[in-house]
Structures are given as C-alpha cells and as structure tokens.
C-alpha cells in the first residue's frame, strides 16, 4: 500500500501532500521536514531509494527529482520499488500532458488540479490507473463538467473500447 505521495521543492516547501494513512498536520510536517533533510544531502547519480522508517520498520521511500521538485512516495513492503518509480513517471507524464511541460509554478497555482489528477491515479493507497492516456481522458471529462455542470458525460459503450464483457 502507498502511504503517502508528497511533492516538495528544493527548498523543502510542500507542493503536494497526500497521505493515505491519516496523519495529523504536525506529524505530516515533521515527516516532510525529515524527508527533506535526507534528500537534500543526496548526491546526483545515486539510487532513488532511501531507508525510511517514517511509518515504521517496513516502510520504504522512493523519490525522483524533476527540475526543482522532489516527488516522493512512501509505501510498505507490499509494493515493488521500481514499479513505484514507474508510477511516479506516469504521474509526471500525466501532469506534463495536462499542463504542457509542467513546471513548479503550474503545480503551485493548480494544486487543486494536481489533487484531482492524483485521485485518478491513486485511490486509497492503491493504483487505480497506470495508463496516462486513460487518466487524461477522465480528466477531460471532469474539465468539461466543471465548465458546464449540467452536461452529463455519457460515452456510448459501443465506441468506448472498454468492453466490460
């Protein structure tokens, strides 16, 4: 299970914080501070894994840097580290598609959208969708609904391509 997805910048400022295990705000901040402390001292060209005991002995932490941002996923030992890296890549690719070459500012000013995107990828600490094109499709529907709340998204089954047998 994924315990948390966190995005912080290279100054340690939180840009996206989503815990799938409820943590009180002080604890969240403490975790973020600790993680930043570890990550900012890591060199380049090292592994993406950090020994982490934020949530107890079995948790692991994988991070990836994109420009000025650290993307961090904390998870337990039921997940595969490299697959989590794939997941981060999918998340970032999706952000890229939504914002067009995403940068830190996009995430800062659209943190609400980023939450929406994340919700389409991870639900309750489990991956709900790994195909970024599928995620984008779902987000397009949402955007349309936001603009015109009265329209109802209805995709006829025959052309949806998702045949549910």
């Amino acid at each position: 299970m994924i315990r948390a997805v966190i995005v912080i910048n290279d100054q340690g400022k939180p840009r996206l914080v989503k815990f799938y295990d409820y943590q009180p705000v002080e604890k969240q901040q403490e975790i973020i501070r600790n993680i930043y402390g570890v990550l900012c001292s890591r060199a380049e060209n090292v592994s993406n894994f950090v020994q982490d005991s934020t949530f107890g002995p079995d948790t692991r932490l994988v991070y990836k840097t994109f420009a000025t941002l650290y993307f961090i996923v904390i998870f337990d030992d039921s997940e595969n580290e490299l697959a989590i890296l794939d997941l981060m890549q999918v998340f970032v690719e999706t952000l890229d598609k939504c914002f067009g070459n995403v940068c830190e500012l996009d995430i800062v000013f659209n943190f609400n959208k980023v939450h929406t995107i994340l919700d389409e990828i991870i639900l309750g600490g489990q991956v709900v969708e790994m195909s970024s094109s599928e995620v984008v499709k779902a987000l397009d529907d949402i955007t349309r609904l936001e603009k015109n709340p009265n329209s109802i998204v209805r995709v006829p089954k025959s052309i949806s391509g998702w045949q549910g047998r």
Binding site: S47, V128, S131, E146, W162, G164
Partner: protein, 1001 residues
C-alpha cells in the same frame, strides 16, 4: 486540460509565495483564516463559487502545515451540492482534511450512498474515491453491498468499476466480514477474467489484499493469475495505452506475481509449467538498456519474478540462474539495480542454500561498501553481515573495520555492532577476536557500546590462554598518545587482572603498568576512575612481595580518593585501602575473577532490537548457528532468537527468590556496597565490572553471620544436573528455607518457576505446586512425577503436558504421613525447551518437622512424661560435637522454627533448653516428643542432647533431625549457585575466599 483557475485562490497563493519569511507567511495565513472564518459564519451570503474557493484555500493552508480546525462542516456540506464543481471540491477536500473517525463524515454518509447508487457516473466516481480514501468501519457496514453490486454489475463502466474495486478493498480492510468468502471466490475469479486492463489492475490489487488474508479460499483464482501473466508476457492484445515503454503493463505484471506469492505453492503441474515458462522468459529476456524508464519498468518485473522464483523454491537450475543475474546486477552502473541486487541477494540467502555461490561475489559486494550512495552501502553491509561465516569472517570483518574509519556517523554504531558480532560468532581464533574488538574501540570508541567491551572481558576471563595476549595488547594500546576512554576501561581492567602474566617482559613490571595507567587518570571520567582504582588494587595484590614504593604510591591514591565527592569512588578507595593493609588476606579477596557463566551474547540480543527486519536476522542467525565456530567458549546455549534470554539475563543478578535469599543478597550488597545507589540494576552481570570488588570473590567474602548461617545449611542438590538450562536459584538453599516455612519458590530457571504452598493438619498435608511458564511461548512435554518414600503417601493431581505462555497451573498434592522418617519425597520435574529436555529432581519440603504441632508444656506436664520415657530406645542421648557456633537464643529460635517449642525456665540450668512438640502420623497417631539440650558455656561447639518420645523410630529420627540442624556441614562454604554455575574448573581450595572464611569462623 484547460484550467478553470480561481482568481482569489491564485492571488492568495501568490501572496504566500511573496512572503519573505515564515513569520510573514504565518501572519498572512492567520489573516486568511480569520477572513474565511467570518465569511463562513455568515454562510447565507456565500455563493457556491466563494464557498469552493475558501475550501480550496483551507486545503492549501493545511498543506503548508497549519492546523485548520474549522470549516470542516462547510467542506462536508459541499458534498451534497447539486452541481459537479462544488461537489467535486467537497469530496476532494473532505478526504484530505478529515480522518475516518470524524463525526461530520457520519452526517454525509447518506449523501455519499445516494451518489454511489445514483445514476450519475461522475458522482459515483467521486463518492467511491472518498470512501476508498477515508471510509471507516461504519462505511464498510452500510456501503459494502452497494459497492460490491457496482463491481460485478455488467452495465457499470470501467471508470466506475475500477474505483469500486479499490473502494471495496478499503472497506474490506476496515472490516473483513463485509466480503463473504464463500460468495466472493467465484466472483473474484470472474473479475480476474476482465479484459480491460484498468479494471484488471484494480481488481488485482483487491485480490492481493484478499489472498493475503486468506489464500485458501481463492485457489480457483490461481490459474487465472497465471493466465494474466501469460497474456501480458506474450503481449497478446495488450492495448497501446497499457504498454509502458514497450512493456505490457509492468504494474499489472508485478501485482499479479505478488498475488501468486501469497499461495504457498502451485501444485497443478500445468499451471506450474505455464508459470515457469513465463518466469523463464522474464529472467532471460531482460537486458539493461539506455532508457532509464524502460529499464526501471523491465527490472521491476524482473525483480518481482526473482521474488516469485525464490518463493516457489524453484528448481536448482532456475535458482542458480537467479543468483547469476543478481551477481550481474550488483555490478551494473544503474544504482537502483545495484541496490536491489544487493537487497535480493540478502533475501536469497535466507531462503536457499546459495551461500557458496554468493561468496564468489564477495569482492564486488565489498566494493559496494564504498559506493557513493549510502542506501547502497547499507544494503552491502546487510549482505556482508548475512553472508559471513567462518570461512570469510576474517576478510569481511577486516573490511568493516577499515570502512569504519570513513563511514558516516549515522552508520558507525551499526557497523561497530555488526563487526563485533561477526567477530564473536565466527572468530577463527580468540586472539583475533580480541584484536578486532580492540581495534573497534580504537577506531570508533564513541560507537562501541559497553556491551561490546564487557563481552571481550568475558572471553578473556573465561579463556586462560588468551589472558597474556590480551594483557599485552592492552599494554600496547596504552602507549598511544591519545586513547579512547573505553579503551582505557578495557586496558585498565585487563591489566589489573592479568598484567602479572607479563611481568617478565620489558616495560611490564607492576610499577610500570601502574605508572602508565595512572598517567591517564587525570583525563578520564568518574566511572573510569572507579575501574582504575580496582585495577590498582589488583596490581598491588599481584606484586608479591610488595614493592614498598609502589605500595605507598597506591595507598596515597586511595587515601586521596577517600574524600572523593563521588560515593562510588569514595567507597572503593576506602575499602581497597583497608583491604590492602590486610596483607596476605588481600590475595584471596582480590583473587582473579572467576569464570563467567555461559550466557547469550547481549550484543546479539541488541542487534535483534535494532534490526528492523527481525525475520531476516533470525534466519541469518539460525544459519549462523549451524556454522558457528567452536573456537569460542562462551556460546549461545539456547536457540539464540528466543526472546527469553532477556529474562535470563535479568534474573541473574536480582534473584527475587524468596524473602530469605533476598535478605541475604541485600545483606551482602550493603556490607560491601556493590550496588551503590544510582548503580543501574540492568540485570546484566557485566554491570558488575563497574562495581567494586563485591563480585570479584564469591559473596562469602563479606562474611556476615547471616550469610554463613544460610550457607552452612546448603546441601548439594539431589541428582546430577546436567541440564542445559540452569536454575537461577540455589535449589538446596531454597529447600532448606522451605523446610521451616510453608510457601515460597521451590525452583526457578529462566523459563520456569515452581512455587509451593502447603497446609498441614495433623498427619495430613496439602501442597499446591504452582507451575509457572515465564516465557512467551508454550512449554511442552511438561512432566511432574513424585518419587515417594515409603513413609509418605503422596497423590499428585494430573499435571498438564503443556503450559501456555505466561501461564501458571496449580497442581494440588495430597500428603499422608504414615510413620516417622526423615526420608524426603522428590519431585521429578521435566519439560522440553527447544530440543533439549530439562529435568530436575527437586526435594519436596514434606519433611518430618512438618508433622509437628507446637505444644507448650508446664513443668508439671513435662517432668512426669520425661521420667516415664526412661531409657533407650524411647529416650536417646548423644553428645554432639562440631556444633555451629550460636548463642542460646539463636538455638532456641532454631528449635522453635522446627516447631519444637522451647519452654523457658523449665530447666533450672540457664544453659539448657527444653522443648516439646506433638508428632502426627498414621502409625503413631499423635505423640508427644520431648527434647533437652545441655550446652557448655565454655565450649559452644559441643552439647549433649536428649530426645524422648513414645516411639523408638520417632525418637531416633527426631534426634537426627535436630543434629542435622545444629551441626555445620562441610559443604557449607559452597557459595550460592548463581555465583558459580560453571564447571568446577576452580578447585575449592584454600584459595577460595569463602572456604577460607568459613575456616576462620
């Protein structure tokens, strides 16, 4: 994606970004929170847009780390908004701000349910997402059926279905009962037939969760999983959007392989073959490529396949293929793969016998210990620790020592501990072990815990051959200009004990040794000064005949510290000073430390505590045990991973056996002050190294009367005790104590305690044995058999064969006394601990005097009886010699404790005692017994005793009983068992201070 930004929100974010410092940010946030609070108070005036905006702001502020303790109701109320934009914000923010137990959530449960069962798919998605993220037990109970319906409905779109699957997973975790196993195994199998990979991904996660809970119910799904893998591996009809860098849904492949690892095995040969084909393809067909993302994805699958192969314990060929792959991985450029390669090698060591193959990669692994990435270095350290055995210990430990010099601080303690453990476990010879530990202390003294140096002292003490070597090494380290304080402690200790073995070497005369130690004294801290003082006392003791100059020097130091502000130091100084004036007696009192009892390494115990992955460690250990070098004398006798060792250690020092013993212990400690206040009673005998000479001789040294009295009664326990498990109480002593009282502990070892409680009425008695299991696991093959002497009829109620963890069972024992006899009933108690059988034969305190009932006689009653029982065999007289010295009062107490009640004043001679009692047995009925003891004030070691009763046997037995109690028995000077459980390599001779003391008295 077009962005429907909110100006107010953007402005707020900009202003926060513009804040120069945290203080400004806080002010801005507080202002905003105040603003939101006022706006919410007057809710009527708020447009849905505004409400939405404020709720987003709240989430932003929450993310920045400020507590948002209001407005939750507003967020929750948005959930019931009719239009999508408000509803979406409500759902999203609620699931970030609230936890599952929040009261407001309960209020929204109906709205949420309506959205789930409603016809609007987007609302369904929102509701399922919230429940999947923060749904609690209450949600599980009221929503699970609806969610299940969505998941299996054929008309439900994949978008909704995949969320329903994960929502159900959450509800299942909150309350496993919501998924009915019988009904669900078929449905789960159907879900795994799903062709939409999005839905299948979610369903697979649900499946992993279900099988991890109960794989038995889902055997029918196993072939489906293999089928999924086959489809993905052959890349059959995998839509473009689910191929990731050309690999068919690596995530789903990984999840499916993970699910298979929850099944213990795969029995169906066809399924097994199909799976192995897939795995083979993955193992063979994965190459390191340039694209990082592709590499990650393909290796994610590969590592999962490796894990599955290890789990299935596949054929040897496949396993060696895996090891070969791992060997390749640990040498690649890509750091993630190196990391995982090392980690998986460690894991592999646990499951299969690949030690030898992995050893081939030792050089590479050692190189990884110098990797720039600390994460990789840690994995390398773990692996080296796991793969270490007798054959490579020297190389590995030396590498670790070398690395210690450059390692970062966060790793040093672990490194030092691991090096120490490996050195201890696999030392090819003991001098090497001493070298390693001393080097450890030298290089990283700050990170070497006391446990480590205590351990080396223990080894040296227990191995005579090692002593000169260790002393010499210690001497060499003292030549260094600056040495760590821990090194000072070890060196001072070792030289104090063993420097006399070096005295012929240049620079090693007592005077020189003293000089080199003493010159460091000004630089050390108080606890170390205590050790130094002890070592001066020892040096003084060893320099015979005494060198007056050295003696004066040391005396001067002692008298200087007699006024030390530190009570510990002061006491040592005073005592050593006084002792050292005693001349030859000093030699005995300060004699070399006896060998330490064999015990578990506290290091290993500690490693266990620090090691996160205990399973890993214990697996490593169990392997290590098989290979452990037998070069070491002190080894683990028990299965080392047994948690009980803790109690064992704790019990060594503080035997809370019975009041009398405690009393003795306290007496001892008080007289020689081995347990000064503030001394941590950590229960580890090594703690004693820091205390004064209290334990440097057996406790008899302190020579209090209390002790000698108890000691004098000590008898050897019945039967040969060659058990691996040693009692932690002195059984003989305890038995004697129980002879004169009716409840207490009969026996205790680290795992078992037997208590006893007795009631006596006439010739009958009822004993209750309390068999207590002190451990956290159950005790097996428990047997208690009574070996009954002919004069007693004993009936033990059935004893359960198993005693549950931490439980105590009571076994009543009925006793009937048939006739007078001093024979003793024996309880043969045995149980199984691990593989070894522990068997103890314990004497039961159902002894002659238990059938006495006190009676006080007046002169008019006594003398007629006394005269009636005129001659042998009814009246016996004996002059007893070798009586323990005791005052008349003490003797009266002794008789009273046996229920032989002394009637003072009955005998006109003040030096005589007259006592009486009634004895009960079936043959004799109640029978009066009379005793007269005439003492000689001029010679307390002899007396004349006259015993009379109406039964010749009784008279004889009673006389013998009293004699036993009065005479000091030669074995009396045996020190209590818990001080000396090791084999009797030490002759109990005149050099034994206890014996010497007993002789003096």
């Amino acid at each position: 994606m077009a962005l429907s930004g909110m100006r107010g929100l953007s402005v707020f974010i900009s202003e926060i970004r513009g804040c120069q410092n945290k203080e400004q940010e806080r002010l801005r946030v507080d202002k905003e929170l105040g603003n939101i609070r006022t706006r919410f108070k007057n809710e009527k005036g708020l447009t849905p847009y505004e409400k939405k905006k404020y709720v987003w702001k709240m989430l932003y502020i929450f993310m920045l780390g400020y507590d948002v303790d209001f407005g939750h109701m507003e967020a929750v109320s948005l959930i019931s908004a009719p239009k999508y934009p408000e509803k979406q914000v409500g759902y999203l923010v609620t699931s970030c701000l609230l936890n599952e137990n929040h009261d407001f959530l309960r209020l929204a449960i109906n709205t949420i349910r309506n959205d789930i069962i409603g016809r609007n798919e987007t609302f369904q998605c929102l509701a399922l997402t919230l429940v999947g993220n923060i749904g609690g037990r209450e949600f599980a109970e009221s929503l699970a059926p609806d969610v299940q319906k969505l998941l299996i409905s054929s008309s439900c779109r994949p978008l909704v279905k995949k969320k329903a699957a994960l929502c159900l997973l959450r509800l299942f975790r909150k309350n496993p009962d919501v998924v009915n196993v019988d009904g669900w195994s078929d449905r789960m199998a159907q879900l795994l037939d799903e062709r939409n990979l999005g839905v299948l991904t979610s369903s697979m996660s649900l499946f992993v969760s279900l099988v991890s809970n109960n794989h038995e119910a889902y055997w029918s799904c196993l072939p489906k999983c293999v089928k999924v893998l086959e489809i993905l591996a052959r890349n059959q009809d995998v839509p473009q959007e689910y191929t990731y860098y050309g690999i068919p849904s690596p995530w789903l492949q990984v999840k499916t392989m993970r699910a298979l690892q929850y099944f213990p095995t795969i029995e169906d040969p066809n399924t097994r073959r199909a799976l192995f084909e897939v795995l083979q393809r993955v193992l063979m067909g994965t190459d390191v490529v340039k694209n990082v993302n592709k590499n990650n994805a393909s290796h994610a699958v590969l590592f999962e396949a490796l894990a599955l192969v290890m789990h299935l314990d596949a054929e040897k060929e496949m396993m060696s293929q895996c090891v070969a792959l791992l060997g390749k991985f640990i040498a690649v450029r890509e750091p993630n793969i190196r990391y995982l390669g090392l980690e998986n090698m460690t894991r592999m060591l646990m499951v299969t016998d690949v030690q030898e193959i992995i050893k081939r990669h030792q050089a590479q692994i050692i190189t990884s210990l110098k990797d720039p990435d600390i994460s990789i270095r840690r994995r390398a350290l773990d692996l080296l620790y796991a793969m270490c055995d007798v054959s490579n210990a020297k190389d590995i430990v030396e590498e670790l020592l070398q690395y210690l010099g450059t390692a970062e601080f966060t790793m040093r303690e672990e490194l030092a501990l691991k090096a120490a453990i490996l050195a201890e476990k696999f030392a090819p010879d003991l001098s090497w072990y001493v070298d390693v530990i001393l080097q450890l202390i030298d290089k990283a003294g700050d990170f070497v815990s006391d446990d480590i140096w205590f351990r080396v002292v223990q080894f040296v003490t227990n191995n005579e051959d090692l002593q000169p070597y260790a002393a010499l090494k210690a001497r060499e380290y003292l030549d260094k200009p600056a040495i760590h304080e821990t090194m000072m402690k070890v060196s001072a200790y070792l030289l104090g004990e063993y420097s006399h073995l070096l005295s012929r070497r240049p620079g090693c005369s007592p005077k020189e040794i003293f000089g080199i130690i003493h010159e460091k004294l000004p630089t050390v801290s108080t606890p170390t000064i205590s050790i130094l003082l002890s070592s001066y006392a020892k040096i003084l003791m060893h320099s015979q005949p005494p060198d007056p100059e050295l003696q004066n020097q040391i005396w001067a130091i002692f008298s200087k510290y007699e006024t030390s502000i530190d009570a510990e130091i002061q006491q040592r100084a005073v005592e050593y000073f006084a002792l050292s004036k005693k001349g030859a007696a000093l030699i005995d009192i300060l004699a070399e430390m006896p060998k330490f009892p064999e015990r578990e390494s506290s290091l290993i115990k500690r490693a266990e505590d620090t090691e996160a992955d205990t399973a890993e460690l214990s697996a490593i250990k169990s392997r290590a045990q098989q290979q452990a070098s037998n070069a070491l004398v002190v080894t683990d006798q028990q299965p080392a991973n047994h948690p009980l060792q803790v109690t064992q250690l704790a019990m060594v020092k503080i035997p809370s056996i019975n009041e009398e013993n405690n009393h003795v212990d306290q007496e001892v400690t008080q007289t020689n002050g081995s347990l000064g206040e503030g001394e941590p009673q950590n229960g580890d005998i090594f703690g004693d190294l820091l205390s004064p000479l209290a334990i440097e001789g057996p406790p008899g040294v302190s020579g209090t009367e209390t002790l000698s009295e108890d000691g004098a009664l000590a008898l050897a326990p019945i039967g040969e005790q060659e058990n691996a498990v040693k009692p932690i109480v002195d059984i003989a002593e305890i038995f004697h104590a129980l002879c004169v009282k009716d409840s207490g502990v009969l026996y205790e070892d680290p795992y078992v305690q037997i208590g006893i409680k007795a009631e006596w009425r006439g010739h009958q008695g009822r004993l209750v044995l309390f068999l207590g299991n002190k451990t956290t696991s159950s005790l097996d093959s428990v047997q208690a058999v009574i070996l009954s002497p002919s004069h007693l009829k004993l009936e033990l109620s059935s004893v359960p064969e198993v005693i549950p963890p931490r439980a105590q069972v009571q076994c009543p024992l009925e006793v009937v006394n048939l006739r007078p006899s001093r024979d003793v009933a024996v309880l043969d108690f045995s149980y199984k601990f691990g593989t070894s059988l522990v068997d103890n034969k314990l004497r039961l305190p159902a002894v002659l005097n238990k059938f006495f009932q006190p009676i006080t006689l007046s002169a008019e009653e006594f003398f007629p009886q006394w005269r009636t029982l005129a001659a042998p065999p009814l009246k016996l007289q004996e002059v007893v010699r070798g009586v323990r010295p005791m005052s008349l009062g003490e003797m009266a107490n002794l008789l009273n404790s046996l229920k032989l009640i002394v009637s003072p004043g009955l005998d006109p001679n003040a030096n005589n005692l007259v006592a009486s009692t009634t004895f009960y047995s079936e043959s004799t009925r109640s029978m009066l017994c009379l005793v007269r003891i005439e003492t000689d004030p001029a010679d307390r070691t002899q007396l004349r005793m006259t015993v009379a009763s109406g039964d010749p046997t009784l008279t004889f037995e009673l006389k013998e009983l009293i004699k036993e109690q009065l005479i000091s028995i030669p074995t009396a000077s045996r020190p209590p068992v818990h001080q000396q459980p090791q084999p009797t390599t030490q002759p109990i001779s005149s050099s034994d201070p206890g014996a010497l003391l007993a002789g003096l008295l």
